[in-house]
């Protein structure tokens, strides 16, 4: 099976006051339909690695291939289009747009894609239904609980049926019960709809649900366990 993502000897060095090697010579593959996690302590380079895979940042060295295609060769607009069509993001801080309703937050991705209004509405409602929030579609984020906001973020990440959802510490701001519910939801989406999920987390709950855990420490691959 061809990997969905091939991470080939990727290094990321931040050059601030001092050079910081966030990711070092890291290689791994992610396959379609996986429910995998990148685990490691704080500062180990998980989020940086996820940003590199999500093309939100560029590696200092090495290559990342998406379905065999080198993303480093894409222009800024092509990268934006690639993220728009192929990727979904879930962030630790939810990152919903505060002035938009849950429905509008989810719909925005489809607006960027230029999807016609009727189709957009149907897909948005379906995504909200998948995460169990279709009844709260007209609420703004400040009227939703943390768990509900993260569900909206999950709906936004899957509304356009991406090949991969990248979730950076998705349960970090949630209590245990809500975290478990969120993980159940994402596992369900993975099983029922075949959406590939890749998490970064050090939450044991997330790691226990992941079907594969890639351990990283000091930016280097430590272990790769299924």
């Amino acid at each position: 099976m061809q990997p969905l993502i091939e991470i080939q000897k990727v290094t990321k060095i931040y050059e601030a006051a001092a050079k910081v090697r966030a990711v070092c010579d890291f290689s791994a593959d992610i396959f379609p339909g996986e429910f995998a996690a990148i685990a490691g302590p704080s500062g180990s380079g998980k989020s940086t690695l996820l940003n590199l895979i999500g093309t939100l940042d560029t590696p200092t060295r090495g290559e990342i291939l998406f379905e065999g295609r080198r993303v480093s060769q894409l222009t800024e607009n092509q990268l934006a289009d690639f993220r728009l069509r192929s990727l979904g993001f879930v962030f630790q801080a939810f990152n919903l747009i505060p002035v938009l309703t849950a429905f509008e937050n989810v719909e925005y991705v489809l607006i960027l894609q230029g999807v016609p209004k009727a189709e957009r509405s149907a897909k948005t409602l379906e995504a909200l239904k998948w995460v169990g929030l279709d009844k709260l579609a007209d609420r703004r984020p400040d009227l939703l609980s943390g768990g509900q906001q993260q569900r909206v973020a999950v709906a936004r990440s899957i509304v356009h049926r991406p090949l991969l959802v990248l979730a950076d510490e998705p349960t970090a701001n949630l209590d245990s019960k809500t975290s478990a519910e969120l993980m159940d939801l994402m596992a369900d989406l993975n099983e029922k709809h075949g959406i590939t999920f890749l998490f970064s987390s050090h939450d044991p709950l997330v790691l226990s649900r992941a079907k594969r855990v890639i351990y990283i420490r000091d930016g280097m691959l430590q272990a790769n366990e299924s």
Binding site: E76, F82, L84
Partner: protein, 374 residues
């Protein structure tokens, strides 16, 4: 908008007064005249000029006039004056001096009558019905003199007019100056003063080879034009400063907003918004901000102008200008939509230009850095 309206209202009132009390919109004078205010030469063939004017479109009314300097004497006093020989019936349609009548009536054609300001009357110790002697140099070099009866007094509020200008029937002045049938200018009032140059061109064509020239009020009252140009320049500078302040305000607001929304822009980039889309988004926000501001400003401006159009706005400029010409102490504000719309367009352009730096800055953000921003 209110400032524009005030300046433009002053200008319009100044021009209306200047053209309405003495100058008219266009004057036909001998080609050799050097001082348009005091034409020292007579028009050779006034009848030919009148025929040409009748063929010219956009002319409301016209009259022949003689304007000379001279002296007026009563039994007790005498004073230097500016003598205006007018065709009384026609003059009523050209100037508004008769509207400043404070006692008696305006002069009648052919009658030995004189219309003087109340300040001059006081100076001469003369009143309605008093006899005065008017003196001026006649065309043959002799001293022309005429005994006239004060038939009306006017009070325009202008020291220059009320103390120095006198109106007499043209035919009487012609006799006194030994220039029967002649005039040193023909004054025209236009139906549409804005078509000044177009009318002048038509008149020049109709005049053909007559040894005369058609001069506009702008050439006669060039000081007024200079004042208007000066005001326009000052207004332009003030507006430029206002637009700079507006632009800096918008720039500041948008930069603050951008810093507050860095994570939001990072998110937009992360989910696939192209940089151009972010630029468009911020420009659109700025345009909406500009449109709302303009709408508020426009509403407030319209309300103020409508109020002061009815109630009038007392300004000290009346006192300053009134020395030179009759000018109302109260301004009745008018709209000047051309300049208002220009200002609106400038506000809009300022909004767009001010939004460009934050828009490009937001578009250049790295998604990963922006999402980490606290």
């Amino acid at each position: 908008m209110f400032g524009q309206s005030m300046v433009k209202t002053i200008q319009v009132q100044l021009i209306e007064k200047a053209t309405g009390v003495i100058t008219g919109h266009i004057q036909v004078q001998d080609r050799g005249v050097k001082d348009y205010k005091f034409p020292e030469k007579y028009v050779l063939d006034p009848a030919a000029v009148e025929r040409a004017i009748l063929k010219t479109p956009n002319v409301e009314a016209f009259e022949k006039r003689i304007q000379v300097t001279g002296m007026i004497s009563s039994e007790k006093e005498s004073s230097g004056v500016f003598i205006c020989g007018v065709e009384p019936e026609k003059d009523l349609r050209i100037t508004t001096m008769h509207s400043y009548l404070s006692a008696g009536r305006y002069v009648s054609d052919g009658a030995r009558e004189i219309f003087i300001g109340d300040d001059l009357a006081e100076q001469l110790h003369a009143g309605l019905g008093s006899e005065v002697v008017l003196l001026a140099t006649a065309s043959d070099g002799s001293l022309g003199a005429e005994k006239l009866r004060v038939t009306g007094l006017f009070h325009s509020g202008s020291e220059s007019f009320d103390a120095y200008i006198v109106y007499v029937p043209l035919s009487v002045l012609q006799g006194m100056l030994v220039v029967e049938g002649q005039a040193n200018n023909v004054v025209l009032r236009l139906k549409d003063p804005l078509r000044l140059e177009e009318t002048r061109a038509a008149l020049v064509e109709a005049l053909g080879k007559e040894p005369v020239k058609a001069v506009t009020w702008e050439e006669i009252d060039h000081e007024l034009v200079a004042v208007r140009d000066y005001q326009n320049k000052v207004l332009g500078i003030v507006l430029l400063v206002v637009f700079l302040i507006v632009a800096m305000g918008i720039l500041n607001t948008l930069l603050m907003s951008m810093f507050e929304r860095i994570r939001e822009f990072g998110l937009l980039k992360a989910i696939g918004a192209r940089p151009a889309r972010i630029v468009r988004l911020i420009l659109l926000e700025s345009c909406i901000l500009g449109a709302l501001g303009s709408l508020l400003g426009l509403s407030a401006g319209i309300a103020l102008i409508v109020y002061y159009r009815r109630a009038g706005l007392a300004l000290p400029i009346g006192e300053a200008v009134r020395y030179f010409m009759p000018f109302p102490a109260v301004l009745y504000m008018r709209f000047n939509w051309t300049t208002h719309l220009e200002a609106l367009a400038a506000v809009f352009v300022s909004c767009v230009l001010a939004a460009l730096p934050p828009a490009f800055r937001a578009a250049r953000l790295k998604a990963a850095d922006a999402l980490r921003h606290i």
